[in-house]
């Protein structure tokens, strides 16, 4: 990391205190600075996302403490949900933030001045999320979902490339991938697509330089330090390591997605025969 970039980042933290790095915080700024920043951010930052949504930023960082961050995001989400703030339509968590979508007309109907809609909402939200310590103590419920994966060569389009980069054999890659426990940090990209943290460091593989035009539904893949599953056929740049017969997204079900932020996930290897049987 260059000195210039490091200096810049410190400057931005000082100015706005709202920018994130994907690199661990201690690589970027001194531990003392980070501790101070954390203290500064006991008050969560709330910023507009256009005129019908806002973003509540729980922490500046994610990669240095993914589990803790995720739990705080989910705890904060729960509190905003429970507060039933007038005009709030829906909430969506992602890594370090919660997006709050609202109807400005209903916010005005609840007593806000037309030009003060954002401040009115931000105040209501702060009232319920101001106590960060208490949120840290919140119980977060999470399901453990087992996902069968067939790592057969026909499905595992990039298994050899992942093995080559990591210096492991293909079998070692499969063993590592299916032994780890993952956590859903976010659902997005396409309906039901889970971004999974917890990938063993050795398996981290950069996204493909040229994304594929079509990745089959059910493909299990690695993108950078995360794993993910393509619920529907779509273009994509992640390295495909196998395929699951389980349906990750079904619009006829409620909820339509198999996974939601906070869930724990484990993969287990199945044979081609088992795959064919369960997809019938």
């Amino acid at each position: 990391m260059s000195g210039r970039r490091r200096a810049n980042c410190e400057l931005w933290f000082a100015l706005d205190g709202c920018w994130f790095e994907i690199v661990p915080s201690h690589n970027l700024i001194g531990a003392n600075t980070f501790a101070k920043l954390k203290a500064d951010h006991a008050l969560m930052e709330i910023t507009p996302l256009g005129d019908s949504a806002l973003i509540v930023r729980v922490r500046d960082q994610f990669a240095d403490a993914p589990e803790q961050t995720l739990n705080e995001v989910l705890g904060t989400l729960r509190r905003i949900e429970d507060a039933r703030i007038p005009g709030v339509i829906e909430l969506a968590p992602a890594y370090t933030t919660i997006a709050v979508f609202y109807d400005p007309m209903r916010v005005v109907g609840a007593g806000a001045k037309p030009k003060g809609v954002f401040d009115w909402l931000a105040k209501r939200i702060r009232e319920v999320v101001s106590d960060a310590d208490q949120i840290r103590g919140d119980q977060i419920e999470m399901s453990l979902i087992e996902i069968p994966v067939c790592y057969d060569a026909e499905f595992a389009l990039d298994l050899n490339e992942i093995a080559r980069r990591s210096g492991l054999t293909a079998q070692e890659v499969v063993d590592l991938h299916s032994a780890a426990q993952y956590r859903v940090h976010c659902v997005g990209f396409t309906p039901g697509f889970p971004y999974l943290g917890g990938l063993p460091g050795k398996l981290a593989t950069p996204r493909r330089a040229i994304p594929r035009k079509e990745i089959p539904a059910g493909s299990v893949a690695i993108g950078g330090t995360q794993s993910g599953i393509y619920p529907v056929k779509s273009p994509g740049g992640w390295n495909v390591i196998g395929r699951t017969p389980r349906r990750l997204f079904d619009p006829d079900k409620d909820p339509p997605a198999l996974l939601r932020a906070g869930d724990r996930v484990r993969f287990h290897a199945i044979t081609r025969g088992e795959f064919e049987k369960s997809i019938m």
Partner: protein
């Protein structure tokens, strides 16, 4: 109780006001890219505002109706006709059994929102009849309409039946909504924006280019977003951001420096810096941008964006009340 698609045209799909409450599962809001136009068109034909209609991209479509319907459309500058009668935007028109609606190629703008009395009877999927063209569900078989498709229609409402009686002679209603609502497409529009979270991450030159420059709509644009060509917008840094929510109207800037204006089918989250957001009352204009069009941006305060939205809601309420005599 149906319509036949004689010609589907470039891209025609069933859309209502979209899906809410499902972003946490990665499901976009979708729906009509100009939801205000769909509301207005529905009001004109005696439907409830959220009723599913058709979103027609660039035109070239023809529909045949099996029974009497009231139809209205709002959107770009299209020649629309039934037989030898031309149908201006924003007017309710009586269609009799066997009549054909033809929407010719757009002369300006990109999309027409067509409301049909009784609404389109596509199945409700996740609370909406909208077609999700990326994940292929909703609408008619989860896809764009094709030649020869049959579109199921709902029953005309009592209000519509009154209107059908009232329009037997004149056929085309003389009353219409404000011109901006029925015909939002503009030549070289100026879209109003509020600042995005990463506004300050762009250097002065980039901000100057963004607020004073002209951008051209790239052919690589669709219901997810409009790609903008013009001066590159460079950031002060090359730091990767943690992905967070985006919404229709968000203008994000990938490393290429060429901004993308997101529309209704956009992803729920994104990792590119958000320089600004087009305000909700200007989304109808944004939905009319087509490849080759030019657009500029002007900053407004968030409070002003809310003020404008609230004024429009009040005007819509007045319009609803004003329609009442025509349905009695």
């Amino acid at each position: 109780m149906s319509a036949t698609v004689a010609r589907a045209g470039f891209l025609t799909s069933v859309q209502d006001l979209g899906r809410t409450g499902l972003r946490q599962f990665g499901v976009s809001i979708g729906g009509a890219l100009d939801p205000h136009a769909l509301r207005v068109a529905n009001l004109l034909v005696g439907n409830d505002e959220p009723t599913a209609g058709l979103e027609i991209t660039l035109g070239g479509s023809q529909l045949r109706f099996a029974d009497a319907r009231i139809i209205a459309w709002c959107g770009g500058d299209f020649d629309v006709d039934v037989g030898s009668t031309s149908l201006p935007a924003g007017h309710a028109v009586l269609f009799r059994a066997g009549d054909e609606l033809t929407i010719h190629q757009a002369k300006m703008g990109c999309r027409a929102l067509v409301a049909i009395s009784g609404g389109i009877g596509a199945p409700l999927v996740l609370g909406s009849r909208s077609t999700d063209l990326r994940a292929n569900f909703g609408g008619i078989k989860g896809r764009a309409l094709r030649n020869g498709d049959t579109i199921p229609l709902g029953k005309n409402s009592e209000r519509t039946n009154i209107l059908i009686d009232n329009l037997q002679e004149e056929r085309i209603a003389h009353w219409s909504p404000p011109h901006d609502w029925s015909s939002p497409a503009k030549r070289e529009p100026v879209l109003h924006v509020v600042r995005g979270s990463e506004w300050n991450r762009f250097n002065d030159v980039a901000i100057q280019r963004f607020t004073a420059g002209t951008f051209t709509i790239s052919p690589d644009s669709d219901r997810m977003g409009v790609r903008l060509e013009g001066a590159e917008l460079k950031r002060n840094d090359d730091v990767d951001l943690v992905s967070e929510a985006v919404a229709p109207g968000t203008i994000q800037v990938p490393p290429s420096g060429r901004p993308i204006l997101l529309l209704g089918d956009c992803q729920t989250i994104g990792g590119y810096p958000k320089i600004a957001h087009v305000i909700t009352v200007d989304l109808p204009v944004a939905a009319q941008l087509r490849p080759g069009d030019q657009v500029r941006f002007r900053e407004v305060a968030l409070g002003d964006a809310h003020q404008l939205l609230i004024e429009r809601a009040r005007n819509l309420e007045q319009f609803r009340r004003g329609l009442q005599p025509h349905f009695s």
